[in-house]
Amino acid sequence: MSRPLAYCGFHHRAQIAVPATGVNAQPVQLISSGGLGVLWSEVEWPFVPDQMQRNALEFHEVVRHVFNQAAVIPFRLLSVFDDRQALEAFVAENEGRFLCDLERLKSFVQMECVVYPAPRPAQGQEQTGSSSGKAYLEKKAVAMRSSEGFAQAVRDAVAHLGHEVRVREGKNGTRIFVLVERGRESDFRQAVSVLPLPEHLSRRISGPWPAAEFLSDQVKAPQISGEKTAGQKIAGAK
């Protein structure tokens, strides 16, 4: 069965070029409501597992195409609606919130730096005693403090170009999100890449990405009114 798959929302203007095709080479279509444009395609659902990687890249390409021209609010890949009417109702209901966030974020992109523990040395190279539980916990605590310290260093280093900084601790490291003015991505990379990195930590810098981390909560996780009615619910994989 086919379902509408939403890619992203953006401030709809005539000069923004929209890609012709998206996931599974399906035509990319536009729903416009009060200045908000939302791109979507009718796709076969559920996705074929073996094609998920390709689907993800095709999805990304559609979002990136628009993001290269303007701020976007990306949907997650699995945002599939029951039918076009459900998507249209969603767009109409959330148009104001989306446009508000797009206006706030229109000049910015999201840059990221992930700090994570450097891989342990291969077996046989570890120092004696380092494999005990106590040593492990101590090492982990040190790494966590180092990550926090580095996150603060990043905050300081990008203060002159970072409009906003958010830090998330994850199981595998610390992820630092920075809202940077579009066009100053290389300044961010330069500022972060020269920061001295604590021992036992590695870093990964990426971006620019759509400013998804900085969306308002209502946009990031919108409530759907009447979600159990046929016209509003999100499609299931049956």
Binding site: A6, C8, G9, P46, F47, P49, D50, M52, Q53, A56, L57, F59, H60, V63, I73, P74, F75, R76, L77, L78, S79, V80, V114, Y116, P117, A118, P119, G170, K171, N172, G173, E185, R189, Q190, S193, S202, R204, I205, S206, W209, P210, A212, E213, L215, V219, K220, A221, P222, Q223, I224, E227, K228, Q232, K233, I234, A235, G236, A237, K238
Partner: protein
Amino acid sequence: MGRGRPILLSLMPNDFQSVEVLGGEEEVSLLEILDHVLNYGVVIHGTLVISLAGVDLVYLGLNVVLASVETALNSLQSDPQMQMKELKK
């Protein structure tokens, strides 16, 4: 589609070879892209309520995989060869 068919298993070795220490370059790796398209952006609340036996299983399954993706991202940059062997198992 369920937990038994995670995205990671569909990645080919060549994809992992594109994941390298970037040193500030603008290259974006495949795994970063997968992480972002699945993990960042608008997520619809209604899914959990409505599709308990369908989409939710898929979605939760993917989120479980995403933890592995993040781990892979971190590890691959330091030792791509070793991690590739593990992921191919």
